[in-house]
Amino acid sequence: MENFNIVWHYKDLLLKGLGYTVFVSVAAILIALCVGMLLSVMRMGGDSLPSRILKKIVAVYISFVRGTPVLVQIYIIYQALAVMGLNLSNLASGIIALSLNSGGFIAEIIRGGLTAVPKGQTEAARALGMSEPKILMRIVFPQVFKVALPQLTSEFINVIKVSPMLSVLAIVELTRTAQRLVTQTYINLPFYIAIAVMYFVICAGLEELVKLQKKRLERR
């Protein structure tokens, strides 16, 4: 019990770590949405040679992102950005790594959501003379995001859940904070239980919130 008092003693540090976790995750998911949309648009191209090559590249990219551990991707991107001479802060590199990773998953979610938008929806828009980019932005994506909201939410939760790996880039988010406190105090379980509860509240809370919102949307 007295161990849990120690956790309470460090609550400010832990909350600061939580703040970092939330910031990093929100930033990453927002960029990832753009990356995901871009990838799906690239994948929608026709049968001409350039768009076929583009599609192949996207396919390999997504396969790689889905097939390798995030940790490995974080390192590769961190190193690659440096090799490319881009002198970004660790925070920026970390957010980019998470976004590029999550973007691959979001592209797949969008692909799934696209099948839920009947072909007729786009045809109606086309028949009414709408341009292709307009059709995507005004007719297709709003519907995709609505049906894919649950998957997008769980992807957001995934981002929160992999954000601890950014600790390898010295980003002192929640897990890294706990690790530091553990090495400092030689007490482990109470800290890990505490952050598990914090993650749970954030992730489960988010899930419930989206469920509620979805119900409200469906009522109309």
């Binding site: 007729g120 028949a127 009414l128 307009k134």
Partner: protein, 259 residues
């Protein structure tokens, strides 16, 4: 029919293949202002495909479609036609509206937003004016009371009437209907057919793929019977229904007209 006038739509030698499958074979057809053409035929005969080609929702394999001086051309003759067709389609789609079997209203927008979307986004029309006109159109199809409802809150018949209003909002010269009532509960068929009757009386040029023989007989002034990608019969409803020339049409009508 005033054969002396220039046709609104003029189709020459149109053919459409999906890979090996020949869906449209050799279609020639002129459609004049104010005509109401009913296209009938068994499932798979190419009716929808024909309609979709007129609006460039499908690439043409060969032949030509001329609408209001702009033409779509088959890509078998020249691959580059594809690029040209895409340009032409922009003009053609302003002249030709389409109403689908599945209504295809946009579920994330209200009835009014569905009707206003394209005038505002495509024609860059003034919002206030468009809204006024949209409400008039909704009134015309009897849907002004539901302007703020979402499509899923409407019955099929009501959705289809909104879809017609949405198409009218773009002020097309011709409207294509692809089985506009076949996704409807029987009780709602009548209300949609009545809206279409009104349009016909107001002089709108219409091409209607339909299984509603009653409508075809009563409202259309021309009936085309398609089978296997050919237009086999083309004439007044009287001619086609009562005195079909081909055996295939006779056989088809005998099945459809009595249970």
């Amino acid at each position: 029919m005033a054969e002396s006038r220039k046709p609104v739509i003029s189709v020459h030698d149109l053919a459409k293949n999906y890979g090996e499958l020949k869906v449209l074979r050799k279609i020639d057809m002129d459609i004049y202002k104010g005509e109401v053409v009913s296209v009938i035929g068994p499932s798979g005969s190419g009716k929808s495909t024909f309609l979709r080609c007129l609006n460039y929702l499908e690439e043409l394999t060969s032949g030509e479609i001329d609408i209001g001086g702009v033409s779509l051309k088959g890509i078998d003759e020249d691959k580059h036609n594809k690029k040209l067709n895409e340009k032409a389609a922009k003009v053609i789609r302003k002249n030709v509206g389409m109403v689908f079997q599945q209504f295809n209203l946009w579920p994330h927008k209200t009835v009014l937003e569905n009707v206003m979307e394209c005038p505002v986004q495509v024609k860059k029309a003034n919002k206030e004016e468009t809204k006024k006109k949209a409400m008039e159109l909704l009134a015309r199809v009897g849907m002004d009371g539901k302007a703020d409802a979402y499509p899923t809150q409407l019955s099929g018949g009501q959705q289809q009437r909104v879809a017609i209003a949405r198409t009218l909002a773009m002020e097309p010269e011709v409207i294509l209907f692809d089985e506009p009532t076949s996704a409807l509960d029987p009780e709602f068929v009548g209300e949609v057919l009545n809206v279409m009757k009104d349009l016909a009386q107001a002089g709108m040029t219409m091409i209607v793929v339909t299984h509603e023989m009653g409508f075809a007989a009563e409202v259309a002034n021309r009936v085309c019977f398609m089978d296997g990608g050919y237009v086999i019969e083309d004439g007044t409803p009287e001619e086609v229904f009562k005195h079909p020339k081909s055996d295939r049409a006779k056989q088809f009508f005998s099945k459809i007209l009595n249970v």
